[in-house]
């Protein structure tokens, strides 16, 4: 198959976007590699604390006027952004494939889900409306107004470099706040492109900012007294630190952490439809997503179990691996060599722990002539038990752990041994079983005959236990509440 044209030619030197200007950072630069080709496609700076301060100062300066801009006028900027995103849909998607490695179908899916958040946020004149009750006492009325707070920041992960900032930024600016996005230093290019489009859409200087960098920039944003809130998506240890730090500095926080998601397959599941859904769940985005299936928990007798394992392994072994800009490819490389190394470590540990390696992805068959540095194939372990590290820890790669349970009760108990609570899915033909599962399982996102329980933009992206720290979630109405203060007015006129 032919490779789609690459939108990035040469090596981009990425700049910060502060106060409506593209500014070269004084910090050190490091290379961004295309994980499929291992070619350098960009250089990204680690911005200085002064640059973070400049961005915060600019956002703070822009806030009063932006806040006074009528919601309808603010949402017109979002309408223009939506239009520009549609016009640049393909380029944005291809950039994600180049910087992250995901397949073009996955990148387009990510672009679409990002755009959906912009679409939802365009409803801000209705979404931001307050509440009103007449006569709380005779002749006295009470009403609630939602007001923006000021400057927010978003610390983005590498696995969805384009979409995740859009879980927050459109709502932040629609409600009248200003935002500073710190893209992942591993794949920041699509955020630069998004910011170019935001600039073209007409957001005033200081409303939408991008500051590149890693931990130091994140810390500077969290420590800055003028930043009112932080949205973070990443690993659990870092999410905990972000939550703690924001607590100490009195900031609002959404901190989404890691996951270890169980997928329960009941004996009445329609395997013909279940298996393709599981391929997406376990191997989509090369397993690098917090909603990925990790542990496939099969309920049923030996015959059903064998049939399931055979179908699963056969389908996984057919997955075509290669450069995501080849449209026939179903799974791209890991985003980095380090990520691959980490997954290889887990595979080794799984073998040592006594799990049975039934599909070994360590030496994958790659479509096309690409260096194998970041590539891994689908891997399947059988005979995995809850006490094994591979069943407990987030592997964040294309590794499926197949486990068994005697009943739904046992399956739910096994799910509850996990310290995570991001997602859990069940495949069944029984509504009763599905309801029972949905009712009892302690996870924020539940899939019923769905392998990736990814909430749409108008629903909150939920999460429980060590997968989420905070109260309000990103996306939809909860994002509106996160980005606004509820002011209550009680009035009486004589």
């Amino acid at each position: 198959m032919a490779i789609l044209e690459e939108p990035i030619k040469g090596v981009l030197e990425l700049k910060n976007y502060i106060d409506g200007k593209w500014i070269a950072s004084k910090g050190e630069f490091h290379d961004i590699l295309n994980p499929a080709t291992c070619k350098v496609i960009a250089k990204v700076p680690s911005s200085t604390r002064e640059e973070v301060n400049e961005a915060v100062a600019s956002a703070k300066k822009a806030f009063p006027e932006w806040r006074r801009t009528p919601p309808l006028a603010r949402c017109r900027c979002l309408f223009r952004l939506k239009e520009l995103l549609e016009e640049n849909f393909e380029e944005l998607s291809r950039i994600q494939t180049m910087e992250h490695g995901k397949t073009i179908d996955e990148s387009r899916g990510e672009t679409r889900r990002g755009i959906e958040n912009v679409e939802v946020a365009t409803g801000i004149p209705s979404l931001m409306m307050g509440e009103n009750l007449e006569d709380i006492a005779t002749g006295i009325d009470e009403y609630l107004i939602r007001q923006p707070l000021g400057v927010f920041s978003c610390i983005a992960p590498f696995n969805f470099p384009f979409m995740v900032p859009l879980w927050f930024a459109p709502y932040a600016v629609a409600t009248g706040n200003c935002i500073i996005i710190k893209p992942s230093p591993r794949d920041p290019i699509s955020q630069v492109k998004l910011c170019e489009l935001a600039e073209e859409a007409g957001f005033p200087p200081g409303v939408w900012n991008v500051v590149h960098g890693g931990k130091e920039v994140a810390e500077a944003l969290m420590e800055h007294p003028d930043v009112k809130g932080v949205c973070f998506v990443g690993s659990t240890p870092v999410a905990k630190k972000v939550y703690k730090k924001c607590g100490e500095t009195g900031k609002r926080v959404i901190a989404q952490g890691g996951a270890k998601n169980f997928i329960v397959i009941m004996p009445d599941a329609n395997l013909e439809k279940t298996i393709p859904a599981l391929m997406t769940s376990f191997y989509g985005n090369t397993g690098q997503r917090c909603l990925s299936g990790a542990n496939a928990l099969v309920v049923g007798d030996d015959k059903f179990y064998k049939k399931f394992v055979q179908g699963f392994v056969e389908a996984a072994s057919r997955i075509r691996i290669g450069y995501g800009l080849d449209e026939s490819v179903q799974m791209g490389p890991m985003q980095s060599k380090e990520g691959k190394k980490r997954v290889l470590g887990f595979i080794e540990r799984g073998i040592k722990e006594g799990a049975k390696l039934v599909l070994d992805g360590r030496k994958p068959d790659i479509t096309g002539n690409y260096p194998s540095d970041c590539f891994l194939g689908p891997t399947v372990f059988e005979d995995v038990t809850c006490d094994m590290e591979i069943a407990k820890e987030e592997i964040f790669g294309p590794v499926a752990c197949i486990m068994r349970a005697k009943s739904l009760d046992e399956a739910i108990s096994m799910i509850h041994t996990s310290r995570y609570g991001n997602a859990a899915c069940i495949f069944t033909s029984s509504g009763k079983i599905a309801r029972e599962f949905q009712y009892r399982v302690e996870c924020g996102n539940i899939g019923i005959n769905i392998g990736i329980a990814a909430p749409m933009a108008f629903f909150p992206f939920s999460g429980m236990k060590e997968s989420f720290f905070g109260i309000l979630h990103g996306q939809g109405k909860e994002a509106i509440r996160f980005f606004t203060e509820s002011k209550v007015v009680i009035q009486r006129w004589w």
């Binding site: 397949t103 179908d105 387009r108 439809k273 449209e327 179903q330």
Partner: protein
């Protein structure tokens, strides 16, 4: 060749539409007395291509089975023959057109069946185009009777 991903299916649909549009344009040149109908077919083909692309890009989601829904579809089953020589008469070419339309229709209906998990829009568009192809086949048969 096996078509596995949604992206491949959309591209393949576009190729089928483009090839058959070119075929009808050549037919229009060759048989100017039937130019209007052949050009209308070509125009409709390009519209179908856009409909498919739009439906895909509007509903594509990384969370659905875009990479795995089309397992089992082989492009070889739907390859269309669009070449014709100067000696081919109108009857022969209309037969060729009918065969071509049957294959295209089969492609869309198979793709609709496979893509039922990709939100409603994609299979709906495939089915709609499949229906249009049925109407097209009738029109070609009507033409066969009058030429």
């Amino acid at each position: 060749m096996r078509l596995k991903t949604a992206s491949e299916i959309v591209k393949f649909a576009g190729e089928l539409e483009e090839k058959s549009a070119n075929f009808y344009e050549k037919m229009a040149e060759r048989f100017p007395e039937r130019k209007d109908i052949f050009l209308s077919f070509a125009k409709e083909n390009r519209k179908c291509k856009k409909m498919v692309q739009r439906a895909y890009s509007e509903v594509v989601s990384d969370a659905l089975e875009t990479g795995f829904s089309f397992e089992g579809m082989e492009s070889g089953k739907y390859l269309i023959e669009t070449n014709f020589s100067q000696n081919d008469n109108v009857r022969l070419l209309l037969n060729k057109a009918l065969e071509m339309e049957k294959k295209i229709q089969k492609f869309y209906l198979d793709a609709a069946e496979k893509s039922k998990s990709l939100l409603a829009d994609v299979p709906r568009v495939f089915e709609r185009i499949g229906k249009k192809r049925e109407e097209r086949k009738h029109k070609i048969r009507d033409l066969q009777e009058v030429v």
